[in-house]
Symmetry: C3
Subunit: 251 residues, 3 copies
């Protein structure tokens, strides 16, 4: 079902049982798998690939008891050029994925999220609302990126990492003033299954070891480790961002 008000570019491949709602814009040479749903107004750039069963442009629907109850107009979901979206994903209205972003299978990206060019969002990752992700970032399988997080360019988040944003665990009215996810400065890296407490800042090119519980800010270019995490040494020279062949400081 392609709605007559949708604009579909040239050379587009459409799978079976695809639903394209009113005012959707699909660029040239886009490949859309079977059972894909593209909700009203979504914009898909040239050369994108959308795998089977994914849902693009879902409108948020707040629970009656949500801590964040504001309602507002959201712009449509927008994908740049050559974005790849895996199978059975759910991407919300009001977000923007820049050119060449790669999204794995079963990913949820909520509303008001921006993902920079060439970033990779791994299988099963959840990116909550109002989060900003830079370019050339990698977020790996099943990591949880909470609302109000900031992840700058070239960061790396390993599998099953947990970000948090509420030190009051759902209690007190006051807490709503303090909701704040972690901030990862440029090139920061988080090891597998680590947990980052609300509002923590991980310094530029710092490294959090696997399994760590980060309760304090981490200085730039330091490695922290343990429960709770403590500084143990400097990041080795050869692992610094400026030494990597893929780093493009002038871009």
């Amino acid at each position: 079902m392609v709605h007559p008000t949708a604009k579909v570019g040239s050379g587009v491949q459409l799978g079976e049982n695809v639903v394209i709602e009113p005012n959707v814009v699909v660029g040239d040479r886009v490949v859309i798998g079977h059972n894909v749903v593209i909700r009203e107004g979504t914009i898909i750039g040239d050369g994108c690939v959308i795998f089977d069963g994914s849902i693009l442009g879902k409108r948020p629907f707040r629970s009656a008891v949500s801590a964040v109850t504001e309602e507002k107009q959201l712009p449509p979901l927008s994908l740049g050029k050559n974005v790849v979206v895996g199978a059975n994903c759910v991407l919300y209205r009001g977000s923007l994925l820049e050119d060449n972003v790669f999204v794995g299978d079963l990913v949820v990206i909520r509303e008001e999220v921006r993902v920079g060019a060439y970033s990779v969002i791994g299988k099963g990752v959840s990116v909550e609302n109002k989060t900003t992700i830079g370019k050339y970032v990698k977020i790996e399988t099943n990591a949880y990126i909470t609302a109000f997080s900031t992840i700058e360019d070239y960061c790396f988040v390993a599998p099953e990492v947990t970000f948090t944003n509420d030190n009051f665990l759902g209690r007190t009215e006051e807490r709503k003033k303090y909701f704040k996810g972690p901030t990862l400065k440029k090139g920061a890296r988080i090891g597998a299954n680590a947990t980052i407490l609300p509002g923590i800042v991980i310094g530029e090119d710092a490294l959090v070891a696997a399994g760590a519980l980060v309760t304090k800010d981490v200085p730039a270019r330091k490695i922290v480790m343990g429960v709770p995490a403590k500084v143990v040494r400097d990041v080795p020279e050869e692992q610094l961002l400026e030494r990597q062949s893929f780093y493009r400081p002038d871009e």
Copy 2:
């Protein structure tokens, strides 16, 4: 495909490619997204919203080597009024979601689960069979609620929390007598990425800190922390359940 024996109320919106099987009952003003599957006999209350790609009323199918091999008749899946179910979820036959429950995207709720009114089950959560969840509970993204767990009213479970129910990790026949998930007493809260061992009781209004490994019962209104978790102090007065504006003790 709406089976002729299904009863569909007034003012219902049906998406594309929806499958409604025999003897399903859909209340008034229900909104059903695209590619939704509603299996035989499922009951959906007035005002529910079911997002795209979700599967309601799946019958369990045990593996040949499952520790729990009993087979029995299950009643249909039943949703109360104004229940919201996110996209690409799988809800099993034999469970009951009371009025105003909110279920995020990519959630699995197994058979013989009861979820109380106004509770929120976050994105990617798994609620295993034979689990009871009270009202006004919040379970956040990717938490794992094992079989035979009990979560009382007003509890809070943060993202990526893991509940366990088998101290024998799949060995000995004897273990089947001891399968038991955690019990969270009224208002208990569990921090992000914590792990709770089998049969542990978290006392009323107690708090488990992020990243903790809970190996012993937690007294009421105490905070525990660490690996293994130890009592560190009392829950602050202003965070106690009785002090919260959303608490309705007479309901």
Copy 3:
């Protein structure tokens, strides 16, 4: 939509909106749910059950910045006899599931994976590419099995466990020589939410306690515990694999 070049056996049940692509082979008495997609060439053995919304035979699509960029011809996805695949799963081309494998809901199994007979892959598990899993293995909910892992017969992996394969967290060219997931020797067991560092070998019938961070190889039949994990005692006699009624050493 069943492509005319697909071969469908006798007594097959097909749901609504099913897509079966060219050259697929479906055995006798297979049950295929609604909205299932079976991609080109996939082979499904007699007696398999595929639940609603699953996608079989997805072709991998590497991101532009993937560390593993080789492209090659993959054989079709192949399922043995009586394999069960849950709802909304994504199974890739180039993998093999032997007879009687059971796959839960929302599972992703990548390309070049082999899963042995009677193994169980729980809900939400990710099995990455180039991983080998033996027979009678259980991998539980939301566990993350990284690429290049080896899991021998009769192993057990509890919920939310994280395997890792890159000690360099995405930095240095040199690291690509060292990519290596964990190896679980026959009968090894990993407790809930544990984290296993790259290349670690868990000895035969050894046990990693819940929440542990494993940074060194674990000797056979020992229990390790803690962050970082240390040997604490022997696995109890009655829990050894050779004492279990389900163990079939001659098979």
